[in-house]
Amino acid sequence: MAETLLYWQALNRALDLEMSRDESVFTLGEDVGLYGGSYRVTEGLYAKYGEWRVRDTPISEGGFTGLGVGAALTGMRPVVEIMTINFALLALDAIINMAAKIPFMSGGQFPMPLVVRMPGGVAKQLAAQHSQRLEHTLMNVPGLRIVVPSTPQDAYWQLRQSIASDDPIIMLEHELLYFEKGEVNPAAEPPPVHQASVRREGTDLTIISYSRMANLSVQAAEKLAEKNIEAEVIDLRSLNPIDWDTCSASLKKTHRLLVVEEDCRFAGAGAEIIANLSERSFFDLDAAPVRIAGLDMPTPFNRELEAASIPKINDIVDAARQLAGQNKTG
């Protein structure tokens, strides 16, 4: 039976369920226990599972993420919460040098059933050090998988699937999504964790996006429909691996590609998406692919400048209209 949940509640349910089913699942991070998690994702779990399975940590991101790696080596299934993605920069050694490489370096002896969850993105005036997106860095690491749920249902499914996986998986959660509502059907059969979803069907162009920007793209597509442009919106859901087949199948139909990302434009996820699809679908494309992305600047504190530094619905609408051959003032 489907019910309406907030994004954080969906994550909370998923974690709770996996912890109750499997005693090797435990979670740790700053203020995940007594406090209940900065975004409430671990609410109630400390009381239910106790301090060994819901561990409040010191501010030692490198240390406790590495601890997660060590625990995973011995068959535990740790879910590390890094309070926000900005602090994951201190844990990159554990993530990149250890979690991603140990399975390979050991000749496959060691699986790495580790999940590292982290909220990120541009939220509300949190300033440059607290408004980061790191997909560009993490995508470039062979051995790491990255999931980017944009809806409560995907958050629920993908967290459960990530915990069940024997690969190291980074879950990028967007800070502005935690309090978004959506239907969650716990009984429904989930699609494969990396499979992209076609959030809206269309014939005139394909908009590829992920995380919060996928939701903005769907809203932009609705506005475009009022202007007689039918955009197909693909929500990638996973940034490594990327479900290229769903993307290229769409381009066969629409022949036009618009990529929308919140991360900075230079060497971002969009660069990879466009490069790869240009190789794959070159003969299907009727126009040069277009990218909308964050400005290549640290996020300004000022509210208006912050808003100007990332894509908005109207930016997507304008770019789509131009790509579809409509003059945007028309």
Binding site: E30, D31, L34, Y35, S38, D56, T57, P58, I59, S60, E61, G62, G63, N86, F87, L89, L90, K124, Q125, L126, A127, A128, Q129, H130, C264, R265, F266, L295, D296, M297, P298, P300, F301, N302, R303, E304, L305, A308, S309
Partner: protein, 356 residues
């Protein structure tokens, strides 16, 4: 303690309290957004430490740094304007509340990633030592920051190379919602310094004169060439960790015990700015500010009227700062690009490579 010094402490502490309460109010009014970490309860630390420093000493602070900036002498106007994110902010609205910088006053930044102040201060100490200058750098950090690797790495390097760094722990016993016994195996922060042969001591951080004297002595040892020193000041934040946090995880008995030392408690949670009367102050017993008031009053330095005068004066200053901030223009996107690329004076790059 001479009258002028005491007067300056009192003035700065009252200004600090008033400024922070006003910032909270402006946050509630929607003029300030984002993370806002306030300092009420901890004023004696920043005021005592920074008054003991020379203007030529560098300061490196955390995200809870408005008061440090004020005490260093940055006028309230550009600080408040920065909190508002405006053009006339000390960082032109680019950095915000957690990232105050003032190159001229050697205010080397508010850092919002816990543990960043250690290496930055160590680097500043390194350049002072290399140039053989009689300066020092003061590195502020919280009790939660000492479990970051950078603490240990920086202390070792500072001790190894005898760098002129004064490490100052503002121990308010909490790392957001996690109490110190739940985040640290050794809760006496100063004891950790002995692992690196750094002289360290703990003091009551609610008593500004105490803080000032301890800092003066530590800085004197640094200037005498004894290398880094560490001071731990025990203090308490009266508010939540930031405006997004109620602080409700703290046992009532504990909050009460500390609040009893603060007669301002009744006004702290009120949206309206105001101060208790001197009768209320006496009735509530000693706290950070009233202890300071009591002391000079007892030795006939100030009378209650004088204190009221200062309160009025700082209230006006804070009003003026808020007024100034609200009238300051919004920065433009060109201002933002200029902040990013303005230092490329000697190089010409392709236009396109800059703006993407």
């Amino acid at each position: 303690m001479d009258r002028d010094t005491l007067h300056r402490f009192l003035y700065d502490m009252l200004l600090a309290r008033a400024f922070e309460e006003r910032a909270a109010e402006e946050y509630a009014n929607g003029n300030i957004a984002g993370f806002l970490h306030l300092y009420p309860g901890e004023e004696a630390v920043a005021v005592g430490v920074i008054h003991a420093a020379e203007p030529s000493d560098y300061l490196v602070t955390t995200y809870r740094e408005h008061v440090h900036a004020l005490v260093r002498g940055i006028p309230p106007r550009p600080i408040m304007a920065e909190l508002f994110g405006r053009c006339d902010g000390i960082c032109k609205g680019m950095g915000g509340s957690m990232h105050l910088f003032d190159r001229e006053r050697r205010f080397m930044g508010g850092y919002a990633i816990v543990g960043e102040t250690f290496p930055v201060a160590t680097g500043i100490g390194y350049s002072i030592a290399l140039r053989q200058l009689p300066e020092a750098v003061i590195c502020f950090f919280g009790d939660g920051a000492v479990n970051q690797g950078t603490f240990h790495e920086a202390l070792n390097m500072a001790a190894l190379w005898k760098l002129p760094v004064l490490f100052v722990c503002e121990n308010n016993h909490y790392q957001i919602g996690t109490e110190i016994h739940r985040h640290s195996a050794v809760v006496d922060v100063h004891k950790r310094a002995c692992a690196y042969n750094i002289p360290a001591e703990k003091f009551d951080g609610m008593d500004v004169i105490n803080v000032y004297e301890a800092t003066r002595h530590a800085l004197a040892r640094i200037r005498a060439g004894n290398g880094p020193q560490l001071l731990e000041f025990e203090t308490y934040r009266f508010r939540g960790h930031s405006m997004a946090d109620s602080g409700s995880y703290r046992p009532r008995s504990e909050v009460k015990a500390y609040a009893e030392r603060d007669p301002l408690k009744t006004v702290i949670n009120e949206a309206e700015f105001g101060y208790p009367t001197s009768e209320q102050i006496t009735a509530a017993g000693p706290d950070v500010i009233s202890r300071l008031v009591d002391h000079p009053s007892a030795i006939d330095h100030f009378d209650a009227r004088h204190v009221e005068q200062i309160k009025q004066e700082v209230a006006n200053i804070v009003d003026d700062a808020a007024q100034f901030a609200s009238q300051s223009p919004q920065p433009t996107i060109d201002d933002a690009w200029a902040s990013l690329y303005g230092n490329r004076q000697h190089e010409t790059l392709m236009e396109d490579a800059q703006h993407g």
